[in-house]
Amino acid sequence: MLLIWTSILFPIVAAFAVAIGPTKSAKWTAFAGTLVSLGALTLFAWNFPAWHNAEHFPNTTGPSWIPHAGITFSVGFDTVSLLLALLSAFLMPLCIVGSFSAITERTKEYYGWFLVLGSSIILAFAARDAILFYIGYEFTLVPMTLIIAIYGGTERRVAAIKMFLYTFLGSMFMLATLLYIGWEHRLAVGAWDFDIDTLTKTATRLPSSTQYWVFAAFMVGFAVKVPLFPLHTWLPLAHDQAPTAGSVILASAMLKLGTYGNYRFALPMAPAGGADLMSFVAVLAIIAIIYASLICWVQTDAKKLIAYSSVAHLGLCMLGLFALNPVGAEGAVFYMVNHGLSTGALFLCIGMFYERYHTKDTDVVGGLAKRMPVWASFMVLFTLASIGLPGLNGFIGEFLCLGGTFISEHDGQTGYPGVLGPWYAVVAGLGLIFAAMYLLILLGKLVWGPLREPHDDAAHTTSAIRLPQDLCFREIAILTPLAVACIWLGVQPKPMLDAIAPCAERMLANYPKEVERYMSQSAGTPLASINGKTNESRGE
């Protein structure tokens, strides 16, 4: 408990230190703050007793905060949230170090807000009280908006406001649903309580028609964050405009809040709704894969390309989650972590060459293997991880997500029936081909080919810090841990898979029954309406 609060609060303490302290030492204070946070969390994970069961640890409620509303400061982890929190805490110091040369003005504010961002993300993952989760979830928006709006590109204001309003609007649905379930709990028991486990128990007892709407409202909230197909348009803009470290945290940690929300709230709380809307969400996810992949293909802006690829990748992750069987769920959770590593690393790589050339346009810059061989090696490695090459981390999640979708059939013998089946996997599998296409095209332009550099060197002189041609030691030190993690998880996924398995099973506990129910009434109206909707979406 103490360690968790250390990892959540220490960055905030450090943020105050940054605000009070001198400008020169701001970056090092920030680095130390995130490092302590990571250290505390690692220490916690090292002694984590619940790696092999679905327990929360510590399994106690925290101090009360607003007693008559039943809101408490209770934090704790199960393996999934611990892994995601570790991922965020791991990326934080790397991002801080990655910003040393990129951020040269208003550094104190930048590092201060960054620390607050890190702290609120960990809070969201650690929270075991729904309102506490909501606070962490929502508060990430404030520092992120400021980071984009102050340190971003030319359209930074629009991007920041759009991101804030869009995701905020989505979260309102989520908050309303949480309050509704809390109210239902009060009706049943007589007192407010926002403990997530209690809410889950309450929500699963609701009639299935109510669960349908509960699920739909959760989905609206989390789908914006993931982002799922028609609700994704804030993401490319935000990524495009955000400073490098902002993009990394946005892609690696903040988007994971969306998928984590599905894992923690939408799916276990409203299993009946999940079963009803399973194919609808899956179709949206598949559209996201194909649609975003095709858009990636014609992007010339390297960062936008990676941003759209995030939409496609998280589409696959959602598909795995909504296969509603352990294979898909394992794959999806694994994919959350892996996408954080490989896409975060890609954003860092692109940021590094952006700092040197001040353009992300692949038509202008290219063939950098000759100029920056070390950078090129890292870039190739992370691209391959993102493509899903076996032996690297991306493959495990991707393969399991697709496999889970494939075997999510009504007559499957896995004990977990589903309604997706092979055809969904075939269409989603096209994403594998497209991923190879657009990422290799990116590599072909950026890394390989004859050297192309922008002619005007004026951009270079404006940079306050003169960077060497190839990566400097600091940058290598940022990318190396990520590369090691990518390879290690690709070669040794077993411990992590074993750790996820019980949590995945707990999440799916109610699903076999509910999916059976859904299929037995498949001639009823919900299916017909869903099919109608999917046809419309396809028509777009």
Binding site: L294, W297, A436, L440, W448, P493, L497
Partner: protein, 722 residues
């Protein structure tokens, strides 16, 4: 030692593998290339100037080969060797409630057969490359050997793996190695594009393979070979369930991608942009045979649908013919050999399809040697003549001192490729054609005749190269130095023998081709010898009537069902004895095979050595007649397959992507999202006059608002009283 083979002529089921952790030392064959890859990467990072990377690679691969040889002699039966747990978890105790794909090895005779030539040729070609690539010392030398090591590791994982996910790992890994090595010379856009194309086309096949793997899991609940084969042995495979019968088709899509068959063959000729040792090792001898390995390994599953093997046969037969026709009209030596590779792979698939895994695998073995040999000779020529590979600009090299070994080993390769009587390839090709021609199915017999016709074409285009390049009067022009080969610079309507003016202008006097030294020559000689040696099983069978080593290797594995032992050995007693042209099948095939091969060579001799002008005249005559003109044009332009793919798939998709990209920014974001955001703004505009800026205005609005609220409240309250 050989006596310890369990010869299974009476086999009715796939032998059950036993778990043998004590054999984990075979895993060194996987580990050593990987360690060597790490070492090469370090050399690369430390910018080592010398040949350290090559030495490390050669040593590691030779050790790996040694391990496989040791495993071969220690072999007693199929074994499964667990190494470590990789991708596995479970959520129940039932058969379908776990997912297991560990890092482990499945060693049977098919594995060893493949590993022997993969590691053997890998070692030899690295020795060759250590000299061939020395111009890049300090630049890309270590990177090249890094790629080779990654390739050998992946290929070993593909062949040795004990489950389909390991196979998939190797499958994609060799694709990666191929991508990195084709694009080795990354400053040339053509090489980069070729690498990309290879990877993406392979990915299409890989999707088929992945789906096939899922389907296997969905139906059998396991991906371990031993368990799959055990399930197969139990029977029950004659299901009409579409989920089962689609498995072979999905798997064969993967095989077609990797082995460059119709419809996914266009990447292989482009892959010749890579350095020649890569073409020899990856794109001729080993990687492209992975498809053959997959089908041979999973052969029992190809009987799940009655037409699955027929599809393989048809695709193979047609690919062989199509590639041969294209190969006839190419001027670039490496391209000719690339198309011949596709064509020979077509034969292998034909063999698999008509039901002789032995023929297919034996042809794989012989092909690996002679095609590696041919590519390496082409590489030596390219190396010596500054990248010149146009067969119109090289002639009579056998008269040039220092080039005799290259010329004569090339002749060996050409003889083998054209299946000259009683060479190794003659036996292996015969095994395939014999099975096809004696099949009970008419369409297989047709494919057999098609294969024979293709054999004649093969002999023709093979010797077209040799007669032009090595025979005739001495004459040569250097290529564009620095570039590996001037692809696509040929004038399409240029004629044989007449050099293009641009290149003719280049002085030939100052150029001295540097002859290959010991490493290249030595490897060429060893390979020529190897090509001879791999014929021994064929000689043994044909002349000594002894057991055929290759056949036993195949028959002892999961490919046994198609090994065709009974038919080929004790066929004399059968009353419905198959015949070819009214003769005994063996004799008849020998006669027609010899005719096709020698006929093709004679035609090549006439057109390309005796009177080279007549080839041009023939071509001109064909082009003059409108009704036949399309034949040479289409052949020279590769039947426009690339263009058709571009027009049918790439272009519409690209257009669609542009539309989507535009629509995403301007419709979905611009109209839908921003439009929704305008709604509150519009509502706000209605009340705008109330907020003009004057302080009193705000106060009045506020007071009015409060008054309204109070009025409403009191109205509600009073109404409640009534």
């Amino acid at each position: 030692m050989v006596g310890s083979w369990r010869i299974m002529t009476q086999l009715t089921s796939i032998p059950q593998a036993i778990i043998a952790p004590e054999l984990s030392w075979v895993g060194l064959a996987l580990l050593l290339p990987l360690l060597a890859a790490v070492a090469c990467a370090l050399c690369c990072a430390l910018r080592v100037k010398g040949k350290a990377a090559a030495i490390i690679t050669i040593l590691a691969l030779a050790a790996s080969f040694g391990i496989i040889v040791k495993a071969y002699f220690a072999y007693t039966g199929p074994v499964q060797v667990p190494i470590f747990q990789w991708l596995s978890f479970q959520w129940g105790t039932g058969q379908f409630q776990s997912f297991t794909a560990n890092c482990g090895m499945y060693i049977d005779t098919l594995t060893l057969y493949w590993m022997l030539f993969v590691t053997g040729l890998g070692t030899l070609i690295s020795i060759y490359a250590s000299e061939y690539m020395e111009g890049d010392c300090g630049a890309g030398y270590s990177r090249f050997f890094f790629g080779i090591c990654i390739f050998l590791f992946s290929m070993s994982a593909l062949v040795l793996g004990d489950n389909l996910i390991m196979l998939y790992l190797g499958w994609e890994g060799v694709g990666l190695a191929s991508y990195l090595l084709i694009g080795y010379d990354y400053a040339r856009p053509a090489a980069v594009a070729a690498g990309k194309k290879a990877f993406i086309m392979n990915r299409i096949g890989d999707l088929g393979l992945a789906l096939g793997i899922f389907m296997l899991w969905a139906n059998y609940g396991t991906l371990q070979y031993s368990e799959l084969f055990a399930a197969m042995n139990k029977g029950g495979q004659t299901s009409v369930d579409w989920e089962l019968s689609v498995i072979p088709f999905l798997l064969m899509l993967g095989a077609f991608g990797k082995s460059a068959q119709i419809p996914l063959f266009t990447w292989l000729p482009d892959a010749m942009e890579g350095p020649t040792p890569v073409s020899a090792l990856i794109h001729a001898a080993t990687m492209v045979t992975a498809g053959v390995y997959l089908i041979a390994r999973m052969y029992p599953f190809f009987e799940l649908h009655p037409e699955a093997l027929a599809t393989v046969a048809w695709i193979g037969g047609l690919t062989a013919l199509l590639a041969a026709t294209i190969g006839m009209a190419q001027y670039d030596i490496k391209r000719v050999f690339a198309y011949s590779t596709i064509s020979q792979l077509g034969y292998m698939f034909l063999g698999l399809g008509v039901g002789t895994t032995f023929g297919a695998c034996y042809h794989t073995l012989t092909h690996a040697f002679f095609k590696a040999l041919l590519f390496l000779t082409a590489g030596a020529i390219m190396h010596g003549f500054a990248g010149q590979l146009d067969l119109r600009r090289l002639s009579g090299l056998r008269h040039l001192p220092g080039w005799r070994i290259v010329s004569w080993t090339m002749l060996v390769g050409c003889l083998w490729l054209s299946a000259f009587p009683y060479t190794a390839a003659f036996f292996s090709k015969d095994a395939i054609l014999l099975k096809a021609l004696t099949s009970v199915r008419a369409d297989f017999r047709f494919l057999g005749w098609l294969g024979l016709f293709t054999a004649a074409l093969t002999a023709y285009y093979t010797f077209r190269v040799w007669f032009r390049v090595c025979a005739g009067p001495l004459h040569f022009e250097p290529g564009a130095e620095g570039h590996h080969e001037p692809h696509d610079t040929h004038d399409k309507h240029d004629t044989h023998g007449k050099p293009a003016p641009a290149l003719a202008a280049k002085s030939t006097h100052a150029f001295h081709p540097h002859a290959p030294r010991w490493a290249i020559n030595g490897v060429l000689l060893i390979l020529a010898l190897g090509a001879l040696v791999v014929g021994i099983p064929g000689y043994n069978e044909t002349f000594a009537h002894k057991d055929n080593w290759a056949q036993q290797m195949i028959a002892g594995s999961s490919a046994m069902e198609g090994a065709g032992l009974a038919e080929d050995h004790g066929a004399e007693v059968s009353e419905a004895h198959p015949t070819v042209l009214g003769m005994d099948a063996h004799t008849g095939l020998t006669v027609v095979g010899c005719t096709a091969s020698i006929g093709g060579i004679l035609v090549a001799w006439y057109f390309h050595l005796r009177s080279r002008k007549s080839a041009d005249q023939l071509r001109a005559a064909l082009l003059r007649r409108w009704w036949i003109r399309w034949v040479p044009i289409c052949m020279e332009n590769k039947w426009y397959v690339d263009e058709i793919y571009h027009a049918c798939f790439r272009l519409p998709m690209w257009l669609g992507a542009q539309i989507l990209s535009f629509g995403d920014r301007h419709f979905l974001d611009g109209v839908m999202v921003d439009g929704l955001a305008k709604l509150p703004v519009a509502v706000g505009k209605i009340f705008k006059p109330l907020y003009g800026g004057a302080l009193q205005g705000y106060a009045a609005t506020m007071a009015g608002g409060i008054a309204l609220v109070v009025a409403w409240l009191s109205w509600v309250w009073l109404r409640g009283f009534n």
